[in-house]
């Protein structure tokens, strides 16, 4: 770990040490490793208000003080070399990255998915945009008319400081966990969304509508606030593989659903297989609010992600619907957390995982019901599908129920692509590989049908690619 001077030392000799005169022009990236200087540099470059600067430094102290998690895939976690990571790279430099540097296997997958050239470059991090300005402008116009704010987080902080300050890190404090602390210290990019009272955003908001923003930051920070009676669906990511030279992705996503608001947050994560994807996602649902996390994890080396809903107001409803696909060498440690604080709140967790080859998937979940939160209902369903004898799945469900008047359902199933199923399909003329794909697609169907059409089609195509060569 890099040296860690105290906050007071920061900034005094900054220019001398790093030689930045005009950050806009010369500042490209922070040096490797993590320190208060790096944090200071990020904040300085972004010209942030004092409170955010202090927040970052405090978060760094928390990060440095907190031990690594002692659960999950500790072996894989221990391989992360925090000193060898660049914590901030300016968007302009990313754009200069050459297409030639993108690994062949990623390019090949783009080819086979039939992704247009412009989109490929965007996905590979070579370009920061691919949607036409026209689309963006029409979307933006419509949103502005409704009073919806949809910006990247940095712009959000600049243009709506009061709103950001009021809600930022209220759902996930910096000290929540080691990786939330890391994100809090070095965050950059992500989305900021505010939907005013009773406004329903008709189309799903997608990050790529934002132009000239750092969309796919390593440490993105997203905050979505749906005011009373508002409704919004946000889609993050895409089904095509996202290549990054950086090995660590650690995002923080906070959702706030006020009374009667509805938020759906859809993620399809397909990081390249060298990435540690360690993400903290949590929502607060007030009275009669509904929050749904629809979460798909296909890529990465190790993902640890447990979208959470704190059911704070009466009759609030939380839902997590997730799928994970762990191919050879991958570990998808995903799950959900539901905290029932108020009476008559309801939650539903549906977790589906597929492990193939030496792939490993884990469901890790926590359902908590506080004393006095009577009339709550919760149901947890975990289905795991194993392909091949080396594939592995584990379930770690935890229930902490402090109230008697609750209804709890839990169901866990592990299945294999059975010989009988294959024989049945093949006896109808369907080839072995197609039959396997059919079984897998059927398995994830409850997830896929929740996606917008173009995502559903892409996801099915992607699964098809992942399934290739799994015969026998």
């Amino acid at each position: 770990m890099a040296s860690t001077p105290t906050v007071a030392d920061i900034g005094s000799d900054y220019s001398r040490r790093y030689g930045f005169h005009d950050p806009e022009e010369y500042f490209m990236r922070t040096p490797k490793g993590l320190s208060h200087e790096v944090v200071e540099a990020i904040s300085l470059l972004k010209k942030e208000p004092e409170w955010m600067r202090a927040f970052r430094h405090k978060a760094l102290d928390v990060f440095l003080a907190k031990p690594m998690p002692t659960w999950g895939d500790t072996a894989m976690l221990s391989e992360i070399d925090f000193d060898n990571i660049t914590y901030y790279v300016r968007a302009t430099e990313k754009q200069e990255k050459s297409w030639d540097e993108v690994p062949e296997n990623v390019k090949r997958t783009f080819d086979r998915l039939g992704i247009p050239e412009a989109e490929r470059k965007f996905l590979a991090g070579v370009s920061a945009q691919y949607e036409s300005e026209v689309v963006y402008h029409s979307v933006k116009e419509e949103l502005t008319k409704q009073g919806v704010i949809f910006l990247d987080m940095d712009s959000g902080l600049r243009e709506h400081e009061d709103l950001v300050r009021k809600h930022f890190a209220t759902v996930i404090p910096a000290a929540d966990n080691k990786f939330a602390a890391l994100n809090s210290a070095v965050w950059s990019g992500g989305s900021f969304i505010y939907v005013p009272k009773n406004v329903e955003v008709a189309i799903p908001l997608q990050a790529y509508f934002r132009i000239n923003a750092e969309r796919m930051g390593q440490f993105e920070r997203t905050l979505i606030i749906a005011d009373e009676g508002a409704k919004v669906h946000y889609i993050e990511g895409c089904t095509a593989p996202v290549y990054s030279t950086n090995s660590l992705h650690s995002a923080v996503v906070e959702l706030i659903a006020m009374k009667r608001a509805r938020i759906r947050y859809t993620t399809i994560q397909n990081w390249s297989n060298n990435i540690y994807n360690l993400v903290t996602k949590r929502a607060v649902a007030h009275e009669d609010a509904v929050v749904e996390w629809v979460d798909g994890n296909i890529g990465s080396k190790l993902t640890m992600k447990y979208p959470a809903v704190i059911l704070k107001g009466e009759r609030a409803h939380g839902e997590v619907l997730s799928i994970a696909f762990a191919g050879p060498g991958q570990h998808q440690d995903a799950g959900a957390k539901m905290t029932h604080l108020a009476p008559n709140t309801t939650s539903k967790i549906t977790s589906k995982s597929i492990s193939k080859g030496t792939g490993r998937s884990s469901y890790r979940g926590l359902v908590k019901v506080r004393k006095g939160a009577h009339g709550c209902k919760t149901s947890v369903q975990c289905d795991a599908l194993l392909i091949g004898d080396a594939a592995r799945t584990d379930t770690y469900p935890t229930m902490e129920i402090a109230e008697d008047q609750v209804r709890v359902e839990h169901e866990a199933r592990v299945s294999k692509i059975g010989d009988e199923q294959l024989f049945y399909l093949r006896s109808r003329g369907i080839r072995d590989d197609q039959a396997r794909l059919m079984i897998v697609n059927g398995f994830i169907e409850p997830f896929v049908k929740e996606l917008p059409m173009e995502y559903a089609v892409e996801l099915n195509r992607l699964i098809e690619l992942e399934m290739e060569g799994s015969v026998g």
Partner: protein, 255 residues
């Protein structure tokens, strides 16, 4: 029945082992296009093993020759046999959650016919066959065999038979667990297939189905062998007398 026709199905010297155990001990059978054969026998005699083994169940070791319309298909995997025109209606069809009856059948029909059947055309055909079998059109959107009743499963097997139009079909206990109305519908489907020149072998335990489907040949199957063959009257005799009287024939190694 077309008596001048060449056999649509012919098997000879069929022996089937499950693990170390020999379950089917030498079966020869010839079926002409449009013919209906019944294989009747007591529980545990190896009838289902014969049907699954002929189709190519991966757990069974099958010896002998299987010919389909004059072509040797013995060594082919089940999907290839199916594309050559062979079909097995399962006694216990397995569920494939998340895959609708319609999408499954479209994949199967496309595979067997060797062309991608256009969606509209396929749908029209499917709905017509479902109507023949008195099935609710909503059935097409349900997940294959997932939560189906026994009767529903059997109907879907017959629906597949009618959609795939095989040269030769084995029906394994398709009559079991059906009420009388469902039995009539299933029989209607079987008769339709036969009149379409499909050669059929009905594997059954009871004579009940044979009130609605009239077999050309009845085979009695005991202890892994066909021990007697005859006309439809043999089925009635079995219904009356049971199988015990045939045991000496079984012990002697068949007819």
């Amino acid at each position: 029945m077309n008596t001048n026709a060449k056999p649509t199905f012919q098997c000879s010297g069929i022996h089937i082992h499950i693990g170390e155990k020999e379950v089917v001990k030498g079966v020869d059978l010839t079926v002409l296009p449009g013919e209906i054969h019944a294989i009747m026998g007591p529980n545990g005699s190896g009838k289902s093993t014969l049907a699954n083994g002929l189709m190519g169940h991966p757990a069974y070791a099958v010896e002998g020759t299987v010919m389909l319309a004059g072509e040797d298909v013995s060594a082919m995997p089940p999907d290839e046999k199916a594309r050559k025109g062979m079909f097995l209606a399962f006694q216990y069809p397995v569920a494939v959650p998340g895959v609708t009856v319609a999408s499954f059948l479209r994949a199967a029909v496309s595979a067997v016919r060797g062309v991608d059947v256009p969606v509209r055309e396929f749908r029209k055909e499917l709905l017509a066959r479902m109507e023949d079998l008195e099935m609710d059109p909503a059935f097409a959107g349900r997940y294959l065999n997932d939560g189906f009743s026994g009767g529903e499963k059997k109907r879907v097997e017959i629906l597949q038979l009618l959609m795939l139009k095989p040269r030769f079909a084995l029906l394994d206990e398709t009559d079991s667990g059906l009420d009388i109305d469902a039995l009539k519908v299933v029989a209607k489907g079987i008769n339709a297939a036969a009149s379409n020149d499909t050669g059929l072998v009905l594997v059954t335990h009871y004579q009940r189905l044979l009130n609605y489907v009239h077999p050309d040949v009845v085979h009695v199957f005991m202890e892994g062998r066909i021990v007697r063959a005859g006309g439809p009257e043999l089925a009635l005799e079995l219904e009356e007398r049971g199988y015990d009287w045939l045991e000496p024939a079984a012990a002697a190694g068949g007819v």
